[in-house]
C-alpha cells in the first residue's frame, strides 16, 4: 500500500525504539552461546527462526516433528555444544516420551513454546493440547515458566537457560498467546 506523504498527520509520534521481545530473546540465546536451534515452524517463532537461520554461528535445524529436537539437543551436549528448541504447544505432546531421555541422563534442555489453544484461539482443535501443555511438561518434571508480557520475555528465557545448563532439569518457557497475539483467521 502506498501512502501520499502529504497525507501524513501533522504531529507524528516519535519512533518506537523499544526492542522487539523476539529480538531480545535471540540476544539472550546468543549470550548463552546456543549453537544449535532445532525447530518446527510456528508463526509465533517466525522472527527467531529467521534470526537463527541468518546467524553463521548457529546451526538452525528444521525438524519434521518436535521429539527429534530432544535427540538433537542431547547429541549437541554430548559434543560440547548447547542447543535450544522452538516449538508450538501442540508439539509438546509429541515430546513426552523423549523427555525421558533428558531426565534419565540429566541432559540440559531448553524449549521455547509458543502457545495455542488459549487467549483468542479461533481453532477449537488447538485447545485440548494447548490447555494441557503446562501440565504435561510438569508431569515429566520439566520446569515451566510462562511469559505474558513482552518485557518479561528475555529475562525469563535467560533464567531457563541458566537453570538448565547449570545442571538443572529441562526447562520450558511458554510464550502465551496473549503475548504473541492471537492468530487472525481471515476468510
Amino acid at each position: 500500500m502506498t501512502e501520499d506523504a502529504s497525507a501524513a498527520p501533522e504531529h507524528t509520534l516519535p519512533e518506537d525504539t523499544t526492542p522487539d521481545w523476539r529480538d531480545e530473546i535471540f540476544a539472550v540465546l546468543k549470550a548463552a552461546n546456543i549453537r544449535q536451534i532445532g525447530y518446527v515452524p510456528d508463526a509465533g517463532h517466525a522472527r527467531l527462526i529467521e534470526l537463527s537461520r541468518a546467524d553463521p554461528a548457529i546451526r538452525a535445524v528444521p525438524l519434521t516433528s518436535e521429539e527429534e529436537g530432544i535427540g538433537l539437543a542431547a547429541g549437541a551436549w554430548l559434543g560440547g555444544q548447547r542447543a535450544a528448541l522452538l516449538m508450538q504447544s501442540s508439539g509438546v505432546g509429541n515430546c513426552i516420551n523423549m523427555l525421558g531421555l533428558s531426565k534419565s541422563c540429566r541432559f540440559p534442555l531448553v524449549m521455547l513454546v509458543t502457545m495455542r489453544g488459549e487467549w483468542g484461539e479461533f481453532n477449537p482443535w488447538q485447545v485440548p493440547m494447548g490447555s494441557k501443555t503446562q501440565a504435561a511438561l510438569e508431569l515429566m518434571d520439566v520446569l515451566v515458566y510462562r511469559v505474558e508480557r513482552p518485557g518479561d520475555a528475555a529475562e525469563t528465557v535467560a533464567a531457563a537457560l541458566d537453570i538448565s545448563f547449570n545442571g538443572g532439569p529441562a526447562a520450558a518457557v511458554l510464550l502465551s498467546q496473549r503475548l504473541i497475539g492471537a492468530k487472525r483467521w481471515v476468510k
Binding site: 549453537r35 544449535q36 546451526r59 535445524v61 528444521p62 525438524l63 519434521t64 516433528s65 521429539e67 527429534e68 529436537g69 530432544i70 535427540g71 538433537l72 539437543a73 542431547a74 547429541g75 549437541a76 551436549w77 554430548l78 559434543g79 560440547g80 555444544q81 542447543a83 516420551n97 523423549m98 525421558g100 531421555l101 534419565s104 541422563c105 540429566r106 541432559f107
Partner: protein, 198 residues
Amino acid sequence: MSAPSGGNDPRLDRREAMRLLLADRGELLLVTGLGSTTWDAAASGDNARNFYLWGAMGAAAMIGLGLAIARPDRRVLVVTGDGEMLMGLGALATIGLQCPPNLAIAVFDNGHYGETGMQASHTEATTSLCGVARACGIGAVFDIADMAALGDFARHARTAERTLFARVAIVADEPPRVLPPRDGVFLKDRFRRATGAE
C-alpha cells in the same frame, strides 16, 4: 545359533558386523539405539566413546546428528535397528537436509522387533530403508549383505566427506545379551569427559 557370515548367506551375524564396524575405531564416536545394537556394541567391548540408548526409541539418528554438528573434528557412527529407525523415520528427512560430512548411520535390519518377541517389522515386507534414505536426500546409501561390503562401509565411515547411510542385512537371532552400564548420567558424563567436551 547365529548363522555364519560370508559364503552365500545373504544375512550377516550382528555381532561380527558390529565388531567389523568398530575395528581399529580410533577416535570414532558411537551412538547405539535401544535394544540389540546396544548389546552388540557392549559385546564388542565397552568404550567411553560409546553412547548407548536404553530408551528414547527413535532418537539414535538425531543424537548422531546433534553430535556430528557439534564435533566436526570427529567421525560419528550411529548403529541402530530397523524398529528403532522406523520409529524415528522423520529423522532421515531432517538429516538429509543437514547432511553433515562426518555422520554415518548403519541400520542393522533383521526385519523384526527382537526385544519384544521377534514380531515382524515393516522392513520385512514392504519398507525399504535405503529407499527412504535416498528419497530424503542422503546421497551415499549402501545396501549391505556381505562382510566385504560392510568393511568398505566401515572405511568410508572414517574418511568420506559426506553423510552415509547403510542398511545391513542381519540374521534375525538373539545372541546372548551383553549389557553395558545403564546409568544415563554416568554414560553421558563419561562420554563428554572422554571426548574433551567437559
